[in-house]
């Protein structure tokens, strides 16, 4: 037990800073994402523009247009002075200045719609483009009603009625049947793969290398403890550490599910546990190479960030190119993310598919453990 105890003592004293830093940064980001995601995801807000009108026509139709636009936008009054208008546009007090030209109603009735307005705008943002589109749609609709035989007054009225109808905005819920699965918790689980890789490679590789340093191992091999017992105790320490780290992140994850995991979420929990084991296997494999702390930190960044970018942790797999996806199939994080995506996309949920992917992840762990055993044997033979 002495070796087991020292494993954790050395681990805590020598690696608490990176463990805490990684964990805190991850949790802060996870919480930020959770809160931002929950608001931004389910909210739709119509854009309102600040518009100034100058009505040179001053007809019933032009006033009707101003009133109609004013219903969904803010009408701003400005002095009809070029400098004042330019200042207002420059300082964004108004988004656009619309002048309804004299003869608007007559030209509209006669179908001469080319120069009905003069629009001045400083910025070519999406809101001003929206106004262009709206005016075009409005005039087209009025023209269509007139063409259909209606008089101008009725055409304007019918157009405004038609354009007043708003489309209903609904947010699709991928997991209507399973309330335990939500977008936020699944994003938490997706990002978890990065943090598991980063924390476990950074700490576990380093501690195993330290415990197996030539001089340290020499001293141990000379002692009364069996070499196999020493290796077993380091292995046991690694397993307990992996489970501990995983358990802490599972507890935090429960915050996002509002309680104990349920339903399909247990697959996500199992997936994360298997991925933690895969990460540990990678860490143990790296520990075969007697490398220094700085190199381990460098390798941690390369592996964790590289795998996360290539396998769809940071960028959705649907946005990755076919070539990248084909290459990332040879990395365990790809299958981890794939399982998470299946759990999130409830309509296409297939437990057998998930289980097959979990086995693939286990296969990766097995390969790394096998490589570790072979490499250690090779090193022992030639040392």
């Amino acid at each position: 037990m002495q070796v087991f105890k020292v494993f954790f003592k050395v681990l805590w004293k020598g690696h608490k800073v990176p463990i805490i830093i990684y964990t805190v940064i991850f949790l802060v980001l996870a919480f930020m994402f959770a809160y931002m995601g929950s608001d931004g995801e389910k909210m739709f807000e119509q854009t309102e523009l600040n518009i100034c009108f100058f009505d040179e026509d001053n007809s019933a139709e032009s006033r009707s247009l101003i009133d109609f636009i004013g219903e969904n936008n803010n009408v701003v009054s400005l002095e009809n002075d070029n400098d004042v208008i330019i200042d207002a546009l420059y300082y964004k007090r108004v988004d656009c200045v619309l002048t309804i030209k004299k003869g608007y109603s007559e030209n509209l009735a006669s179908g001469n719609t080319d120069k009905l307005f003069e629009m001045r705008k400083m910025h070519s943002g999406y809101s001003e483009i929206l106004m262009d589109i709206f005016l075009e749609k409005y005039i087209s609709a009025v023209s269509a009603y007139i063409s259909a035989g209606e008089n101008l007054s009725d055409a304007v009225k019918n157009t405004e009625t038609a354009l007043s109808e708003k489309a209903e905005i609904n947010f699709a819920d991928f997991n209507e049947n399973d309330s335990s699965v939500n977008y936020t918790v699944m994003i938490y689980f997706r990002y978890l793969s990065y943090i598991l890789l980063a924390v476990l490679i950074n700490t576990l590789s380093d501690i195993i290398i330290e415990m197996n340093k030539k001089d340290m191992r020499f001293r141990t091999d000379c002692s009364g403890i069996r070499s196999s017992e020493y290796t077993f105790l380091i292995f046991a320490g690694s397993i307990v550490f992996v489970l501990l780290i995983w358990f802490v992140f599972m507890l935090v994850g429960m915050y996002f599910t509002d309680g104990i995991y349920s339903g399909k979420m247990w697959f996500a929990v199992l997936n994360s546990l298997i991925f933690a084991v895969v990460s540990a296997a990678i860490a143990i494999f790296i520990s075969c190479f007697s490398i220094g702390g700085n190199v381990i930190t460098f390798m941690t960044q390369i592996i964790s960030l590289g795998m996360s970018f290539l396998c769809g942790v940071f960028v959705d797999q649907s946005l990755l190119s076919e070539g990248v996806l084909n290459a990332s199939r040879f990395l365990p994080a790809y299958w981890y993310v794939k399982v998470n995506d299946i759990i999130l996309n409830g309509s296409a949920f297939d437990a057998s598919e998930i289980i097959s992917y979990l086995f693939i992840e286990c296969g990766f762990a097995g390969v790394f453990i096998l490589l570790t055993i072979l490499l250690r044997k090779y090193k022992y033979k030639f040392s």
């Binding site: 002495q2 050395v10 020598g14 001089d215 340290m216 001293r219 000379c222 002692s223 009364g224 403890i225």
Partner: protein, 315 residues
């Protein structure tokens, strides 16, 4: 009659074509401070590694405490303390925790271990540094910690492989005094070094190794008796001619003399008043001389005479 603690018989260890140990025979008695002396690459560390079953060997046998030593001889290993040339401690643990950990590899009982660790701390004079991280210790203190980690479990046999490399003279003396005290307390010691002065100072028996072979063994007096030289006389003197150097060379017990224009070196074998006789020759010829000193043979002279080369390059 003293018990034999270690018996190495006909040990051969090869690395490919290189013969690292060539039919080595060594016997170490209980209570010895046994010095393994030899230049780098002579096979000292290979001998120790074979002794501890850290290396397999091609031929021969090793017995420790009357039993054959194998990698699984944990009952034997428990009675051995090893202090290597490189300091092997955990930088994350304190001085006390390090000693406690290494002692814990031998002693499971917590109370007994606590007592032993405290004793090791006191023995190595680390009382004031118990809570220090090894990173904050000086080179000498670090060596003492290394020793404390190796001896805390009170082994009957202590193996020290060049424990004073890169250590300042003050710390070196403390370490050597400590080794002698461990021996007085009943431990048998194997001490490997290429520092002949240290070996001469503390070892009761010495084996000189070269190219994997034991070329001589005995007490330091026995070793010195093996060679022709018994005294080397050095005289700072100017203007000697061939007649006078010839006269000195023909003195009884003088078997060789060298003169470089400012220093006369006279090599003697046996005889009791060699220095007086050499000085008489100089006085008789009215030769003024400066500093005069006589040296007894060292282990380096022994090594030089047996192998034809110096034990250690001049530093």
């Amino acid at each position: 009659m003293e018990n034999t603690i270690i018996k190495i018989s006909n040990l051969v260890k090869r690395y490919g074509d290189l013969v690292a140990l060539d039919h080595l025979d060594i016997e170490i008695k209980e209570g010895d401070i046994f010095g393994l002396l030899g230049p780098n690459g002579s096979g000292k560390t290979t001998t120790i590694n074979c002794l501890l079953s850290l290396l397999t060997f091609d031929k021969g046998s090793i017995e420790i405490f009357g039993k054959e030593m194998t990698p699984e001889s944990y009952d034997i290993k428990k009675q051995i303390g090893v202090i290597m040339q490189n300091v092997a401690v955990f930088e994350e643990l304190s001085v006390y925790e390090n000693i406690d950990y290494f002692c814990g590899l031998y002693i499971r009982d917590k109370a007994e271990r606590k007592r032993l660790v405290e004793e090791a701390v006191a023995f190595t004079g680390l009382e004031d540094f118990k809570k220090f991280s090894p990173k904050k210790l000086s080179g000498g203190l670090l060596r003492r910690l290394n020793i404390a980690c190796g001896i805390a479990h009170k082994p009957k046999l202590i193996i020290l492989d060049e424990p004073t490399v890169a250590v300042d003279p003050q710390s070196r003396n403390k370490i050597l005094e400590g080794i002698e005290e461990l021996n007085r307390n009943g431990a048998t010691i194997i001490y490997t070094s290429h520092y002949m002065e240290e070996v001469e100072q503390i070892c009761t028996r010495i084996a000189i190794m070269d190219k994997g072979k034991k070329i001589a063994e005995g007490t330091k007096e026995e070793l010195k008796r093996m060679i022709k030289n018994t005294e080397t006389i050095n005289i700072e003197v100017l203007g000697l001619d061939e007649k006078i150097t010839g006269e000195i060379s023909s003195l009884p017990h003088v078997y060789n003399s060298e003169y470089d224009g400012s220093k006369l070196t006279v090599y003697c074998s046996g005889g009791k008043h060699n220095l007086i006789r050499v000085l008489d020759v100089l006085q008789k010829n009215d030769i003024a001389f400066g500093r005069v000193y006589s040296e007894l043979p060292t282990l380096n002279d022994v090594f030089l005479e047996i192998t034809g080369k110096a034990l250690r390059d001049k530093e």
